[in-house]
């Protein structure tokens, strides 16, 4: 562990997991860098039509 700890986190990958991580950290007082390879975040969940078992719209 470094002597001088930084209050920032980098999240690599902007799918549903990356987005949730980033939101939790930002909401609790950390500066977040979200790094995404493609031109938009959302990942595979954004490509899904509906989700089981509630048939909610994935978008």
């Amino acid at each position: 562990m470094a002597a001088n700890t930084l209050g920032s986190v980098m999240v690599v990958g902007g799918g549903i997991a990356g987005i949730q991580t980033a939101l939790d950290l930002a909401d609790s007082g950390y500066y977040v860098y979200l790094v995404e390879k493609s031109a938009a975040i959302g990942g595979v969940m954004a490509q899904l039509d509906k989700t089981f078992p509630t048939n909610d719209c994935a978008m």
Binding site: V9, G13, I16, L25, A39, Q47
Partner: protein, 935 residues
């Protein structure tokens, strides 16, 4: 458009080298008008639609993309490749195109890294006998997902690729690229394909006209998640056919349309079947560049190239300060990914707690324009929700109708009213037209009202000046077969919402001071991990345990499925919990009362005969579950019949009777997947596999049988199933209608079942019979009544949203972890407990927390009769004495933090002496009057 190249430094102080690829569009200038894409002459396969249609070289990934900014695909752009064209640059109205944009490397300093790069869908072209590459109507599940989607290439009206006709007979083929070494070296189960195939089969009926036939070819159906088994049973009831077979060959159908499938049944009988379309349920592999990423980050991968983690630190990679979440950790579904995401957030937050808040600042909004006395100028936004609404309701008719309503000055239809581009647009329309009341005709306010409220604040008006008409859940979804009536109902709903909107008033912002302390109920592994995490973040924590020892079920288990010893690890957690300076443990403790709400709860706790009061801002419920004591298979009548936990105790004690046993039989699904308990207990298949392997390793000559309905060793646990088969464990399948029978004969125990291959009865003498019995939740009736939280039919506590809020409870400020939520193994329980830590940390990190303004308040008509004091279910109302004209009077007062705005007080009051802000009697009357206007 960035990638991590290198990470230097140590936990707490990393320097990350990130390569930013050129976008060729200036994000600050782009207004997402789409002209660049319209004018771009170069067509490219759309990756978002899995290559089923084309996008341009100037593109956005999808309509609701975040950020909603175009990009130019340098590899396909004609100008960038050949130096000619430049149409986008010419037509861009804001001069956002910048062909000189170049890749750059930047260095960013962070304290931790969290890796969530996702997965790669398996490419089925390696299976030559499936001929996916050449049969157009054979698609992958992700392609099928896009074909179903309203934003996909056929706008949600399913057609097959060969001739664009609507398929009537569709098959799904499971485990393509999973559970196999022959062509793909993917020995693992991808965990999600059974469920997504069932979902696709079910929703196909909504995307097609007329009758449709759906068949799923599978090896084992793995519906091991919460409410998944019911979904599977429901699909069967709705006519989806399930056939246990692994088809070996696919050949093109007649005239190259459709597909013929060859498969062999249990009796070696070959079958041919023709389908209009076939979906390959492709597995989830580690991301394509997993190795590159692992090298850049210097972390270890497992044999399948997923990140290596341990069961007691399920999101911690091999490098300190680097965490993983989602499918990169192992294949998993959305709730599990979201849980791990919060778990990773907690792990990073704990490590960096000394620097919390050092680099962030609060979000600010523009000053609020006071519209209290302004004439209503109502804006109505009607959502299509893809085809969810527009597929049934004629939204243009609803739009035209809304324009005729009193007070309405602006109406518009959106494909997705909730998308972020629409939020920007709504805010613009509010400013442009001076809108001061907003009606959103879309889905339930539970899902998106907070988003729309934020949009209103961004636009400078009070966020309570909004009313939603739920024309999806309460209309298009339930009246799908009566589109005309549904359209009429939607108009009624919009008219009713507009009537209320006209009377909406801005509400005052209120807040509570957060008690920065936590209460954890339950001292099993989940409870302890939650308490430790919260305490390590720096907050005082009280842990209640009803028994006289910590550890719970975990102390009865031997090894995790990954082979780690459990008891020493749990003991270390117990020691750490008991000695933590910020954790106060109460054993023999019960929760007696709970009042208050998020940020400020007060409870009375009885511990060792004493009563004490505890004040806390958040609570974590981890009350656990237990192994069901079976009522069948001679359990309790013969001591050779054991449950898993009982048999584990024998295994651990090196009992000679186990070592020398000639034959041990396991029966799966004892008490699970039956009408009384219609859920899968998730852990029992893996547990039986571990025990069976231990027995075979102890004595290879022992006969070990596992009677099962489906083997559900999901994820990388599948390796255990493979190993058990290699070691000679014999698997016998049974149907729930024909369970094996157990009988005693002269003191010997016999298990009789039907062998599914031989089709002959099989009678096995068993030295031990191990029953893989269900996991049942511990009693939470009192807790549910105290907190007024929701609980499912089977007694498991309910989460706020099954996908997106898997650890939040229905009551704000309460979180859940472990077996009280659903049966789960240790690694998942730890992840969920850590996720609860993160979610709790979001609240605890603030000393003041804003509250919802929908609260009851006394009016001048109150005469202090106190009828409402008794009916309030939250004990939020009390009587107060005040003086007026020299006389003493009584009236009620509401505790704003306790009040949930339910309105029971208002309904009880005979004198209009109390009103709920945002739901006043006048507003409700206006809604009823307009609803009944036509009658």
């Amino acid at each position: 458009m960035s990638e991590v190249k290198k990470v230097d430094g140590v936990e707490g102080d990393f320097t990350v080298t990130v390569k930013k690829s050129p976008r060729y569009i200036d994000m600050d200038k782009c207004i997402a008008c789409g002209l660049c894409a319209e004018k771009c002459p170069k067509k490219v396969d759309s990756e978002f639609n899995m290559g089923l249609d084309k996008r341009k070289a100037a593109y956005i990934l999808y309509g609701q993309a975040v950020p909603l900014k175009y990009a130019i695909d340098g590899e396909n752009c004609i100008y960038l490749q050949k130096g000619k064209c430049g149409a986008c640059e010419k037509y861009c109205p804001t001069g956002a195109v910048n062909f000189k944009d170049a890749a750059e490397e930047v260095q960013i300093k962070v304290g931790s890294l969290i890796l969530s790069p996702g997965f790669k869908p398996f490419d089925p072209t390696v299976f030559d006998t499936y001929d996916y590459a050449h049969i157009p109507d054979v698609v992958t599940s992700l392609e099928y997902e896009r074909l179903l989607s309203a934003s996909g290439p056929c706008m949600g009206h399913l057609v097959r690729p060969s001739d664009h006709s609507e398929p009537k007979k569709i098959a799904w083929m499971q485990c393509v690229g999973s559970r196999g070494f022959n062509k793909c070296d993917n020995g693992f189960c991808s965990s999600v394909c059974c469920m997504y195939a069932i979902k696709q089969a079910l929703v196909t009926a909504e995307h097609t006209t007329g009758d449709v036939s759906q068949t799923v070819y599978y090896m084992d159906i793995r519906s091991h998640g919460k409410d998944f088994e019911k979904y599977y049973v429901d699909a069967e009831k709705k006519g989806v056919k399930f056939l246990r077979a692994r088809p070996h060959t696919l050949i093109p159908g007649t005239d190259g349309k459709g597909v013929k499938l060859r498969w062999v049944d249990d009796q070696s009988q070959e079958h041919y079947e023709e389908y209009d379309m076939l979906v390959l349920s492709v597995g989830l592999e580690a991301p394509k560049d997993a190795r590159v990423l692992a090298e850049a980050l210097d972390i270890k991968l497992d044999r399948y190239k997923f990140a290596e983690t341990g069961s007691f630190a399920p999101v911690t990679s091999s490098r300190p300060g680097v965490y993983v979440a989602g499918c990169f950790q192992s294949p998993k579904d959305i709730p599990q990914s979201v849980t791990e995401a919060s778990s990773a957030a907690a792990s990073a937050a704990i490590a960096l707690s000394s620097a919390r808040g050092s680099l962030t600042k609060e979000k600010t909004y523009p000053p609020e324009i006071d519209v209290t006395s302004a004439e209503p100028k109502i804006g109505v936004f009607v959502c299509s929700c893809g085809i969810n609404i527009a597929g049934v309701i004629k939204v243009d008719e609803v739009v035209e109708y809304a324009k005729t309503l009193p007070g309405v000055v602006f109406v518009e239809n959106n494909l997705f009213t909730c998308s972020s581009d629409t939020q920007v647009m709504i805010a613009e329309k509010i400013k442009e037209h001076g809108l001061n009341r907003i009606v959103i005709a879309a889905c339930t306010p539970r899902t998106h009202e907070p988003l729309f409220k934020d949009t209103l604040r961004e636009a400078g008006i009070n966020e309570y000046l909004i009313e939603m008409a739920n024309i999806r859940n309460q209309n298009s979804w339930v009246h799908a077969k009566e589109p005309e009536k549904a359209t009429e109902k939607a108009k009624d709903q919009v008219r009713i919402a507009v009537a209320k909107a006209a009377l909406l008033c801005p509400l005052e912002h209120i807040s509570v001071n957060v008690v920065q302390k936590a209460l954890v109920v339950g001292g099993g592994l989940s409870g302890m991990i939650a308490a430790l995490g919260i305490a390590d973040m720096g907050y005082e924590t009280v842990l209640l345990e009803k028994s006289n020892s910590l550890g719970g079920n975990a102390m009865k288990l031997i090894k995790t499925w990954k082979g780690e010893e459990i008891k020493p690890q749990v003991q270390a957690v117990i020691d750490k919990t008991q000695s933590h300076p910020r954790i106060k443990v109460y054993k023999n403790a019960t929760l007696k009362s709970a009042v208050g709400s998020v940020g400020n709860f007060v409870s009375e706790v009885e511990a060792n005969g004493e009563t004490l009061a505890i004040q806390y801002g958040v609570g974590v419920v981890a009350t656990g579950g237990s192994e069901l004591k079976p009522a069948e298979y001679l359990y309790g009548h013969d001591k050779k019949v054991k449950t898993h936990q009982e048999f584990d105790a024998l295994l651990e004690s090196n009992d000679a009777s186990v070592k020398n046993a000639e034959s041990v039989v396991f029966i799966q699904c004892v008490g699970s997947r039956e009408p009384g308990r219609p859920y899968c207990s998730r852990v029992c298949c893996t547990h039986s596999m571990e025990s069976a392997i231990a027995l075979k390793k102890m004595n290879p000559d022992m006969n070990v049988f596992i009677f099962n309905r489906d083997i559900r060793t999901y994820g990388l646990r599948e390796d255990l199933y493979t190993e058990a088969r290699k070691l000679g464990v014999i698997f016998v399948r049974y149907e729930v209608e024909a369970k094996p029978t157990v009988a005693l004969d002269g003191g010997a125990l016999y298990v009789t079942g039907m062998d599914h291959i031989l089709r002959r009865p099989l009678k096995i003498k068993a030295d031990y019979l191990v029953l893989a019995s269900a996991i049942v939740p511990n009693q939470t009736k009192e807790l549910v009544e105290l907190y007024k939280c929701s609980v499912g039919a089977e007694g498991f506590l309910t989460e706020a949203h099954p996908k997106l809020r898997p650890v939040d409870m229905s009551v704000d400020g309460l979180f859940l972890a472990g077996l009280c939520h659903y049966p789960k193994p240790i690694d998942e329980a730890v992840a969920q407990a850590q996720a609860a830590v993160s979610r709790a940390g979001v609240i605890l990190s603030k000393s003041v927390m804003p509250l919802d303004s929908i609260k009851s308040a006394v009016t001048d008509k109150c005469d202090g009769c106190a009828l409402c004091v008794d009916t309030c279910p939250y004990n939020a109302i009390s009587l107060e004495v005040y003086e007026d004209g020299g006389k003493e009077h009584k009236r009620i007062a509401t505790d704003k933090a306790l009040c949930k705005g339910c309105g029971i007080c208002m309904a009880t009051c005979p004198k209009r002496g109390v009103n709920v802000a945002g739901f006043t009697m006048d507003q409700i009357s206006a809604q009823i009057d307009t609803a009944l206007a036509g009658f």
